[in-house]
Symmetry: C3
Subunit: 207 residues, 3 copies
């Protein structure tokens, strides 16, 4: 559990970095704005999950280490911006590991509160993606998850896998790693092969 806690805190810091960088692409905020958006990106998903579940206190309000990770993340993002941009591929990997981890952590937390597995899967997905959705809404973009790339669906498939393996009494740590790896694999394969889900409704072809 010690390792997982460290990963969660560090992962939150990474989310803040990627939030601040993504915000800069769009709205060209000042220092404060970039930090604010990084902060919202990092805490948004987990906060929404806990508010919907009525699980208080919120993780980042209860444990100040998450806040410190966010503050450090935003500062690093600004100082090492040019390096970070060049490391875009490394970053994609960090982001993917991050959403994988948060998906399973969120699923477990919801499950531990006694909700139905379908709800737990949604809460796992929310933990991973809703910070980014809120960031996109604040910067006046249509959230990317509605438009392209297999992102939220990767999280959802990992959450469902975790729930099935949990139901089959697979050992918890093994299950955690396996399900998280599935999220990572689905996301990487989807991006590499430029996969996307079919459009909800096909556009009519001109006659």
């Amino acid at each position: 559990m010690q390792i997982q806690y460290i990963l969660e805190v560090v992962g939150t810091g990474f989310f803040a970095i990627s939030g601040a960088l993504a915000a800069n692409d769009k709205a060209q905020p000042d220092w404060f704005g970039a930090g604010f958006i990084g902060f919202i990106t990092a805490i948004g998903g987990g906060s929404l999950r806990d508010i919907l579940l009525g699980s208080y206190p919120l993780v980042w309000i209860n444990d100040i280490n998450f806040m410190y990770a966010i503050i450090i993340g935003v500062i690093l993002a600004s100082i090492f911006f040019k390096v970070l941009i060049r490391l875009r591929k490394t970053f994609f990997l960090f982001d993917t590991v991050g959403i994988a981890m948060f998906t399973i952590v969120g699923t477990e937390k919801a499950l531990s509160l006694g909700v139905h597995p379908v709800i737990a899967a949604i809460m796992g997905m929310f933990s991973a993606i809703m910070g980014g959705v809120i960031r996109d809404v604040l910067t006046n973009e249509i959230p990317i998850i509605f438009k392209k790339e297999i992102y939220a669906t990767a999280c959802l498939s990992g959450a469902m896998t975790y729930l099935i393996l949990d139901y089959l009494n697979i050992e918890r740590n093994f299950n955690f790693i396996l399900s998280a790896l599935l999220v990572i694999a689905v996301r990487i394969v989807a991006v590499k092969m430029n996969l996307s889900l079919p459009k909800f409704i096909k556009e009519d072809k001109a006659p």
Copy 2:
């Protein structure tokens, strides 16, 4: 109460259908995105009401039937899209019945938690309209309720009517039906006669 419960579950499914269709008009989401927006549209209003009131657990988290209704709604929306588009008028009716019912259900729930009637009326309106508002924000539209049509005001007038009749000790089921019918009537008359509220502030005429 049995009938009301069935209506609520079915109504939630209808909200998911109309949310998915409305999302498709705007953002052309993939399958997942349309389902996600349908889901948010269906649960958004009631969730916001319950979070503001601190009433846990949220209805759809506590009772999985609502989730099933949403999933079925989204699948039906996709399969029968062309039929549903042709049934636009029928759909308008379903939507109107839906907001009428959710307005009164939400008003009753808030009242049962002991809040002031003015707050209860707002919570009833929120139950009916805020799912659509959140949908519009996510798809980067200015929520329609700020721009035209008597929509939220129909809900508010129904909620206030319910509260007045409740204060006058009118029998509950009779009151429920009467107030809901008022919402429906106001909405239909407003659309048929193309009524709208006056602009908040008149635009200055050029000299």
Copy 3:
């Protein structure tokens, strides 16, 4: 405390007025829409703070006077629109006093619930600015706090000052007034001198 309560209620009404006027600049809503946006602007920040902290019931749900202040504010905004527009400078002052007060009230409330001072400062800032952020999101604008003017940072500096003076055992009323005055001073100086924070990341100059 009596004076502070009256100031809070009146301040909420002022927030509703400025929300309704700001909404009118952008989305040209009808009467209902302007009132709705004024309402959201007035209650948004405090509601978000209380929801994040799990502090129920929300202030405006518990005490109907806040709701009355909002309703009166919106009605006044509409009737006296032309006068209010001409009073823009007076209004800027009221708004500035309002965010100063709400910042310190929010910081105190969070602190009284036992959170870490860093969290308390964020909650104080949220109380003051998030109503306006939600208003901007609903009217499809990029929230101004991400773009220009020292606004949220003025609140944050006031909240931090309060926390430091509180730590140094400065008398509460004196601390309240001093920290609020700092918010007001920072904001006024920033606007007068057209100060802004540096951009998060400088735009690349063309070679």
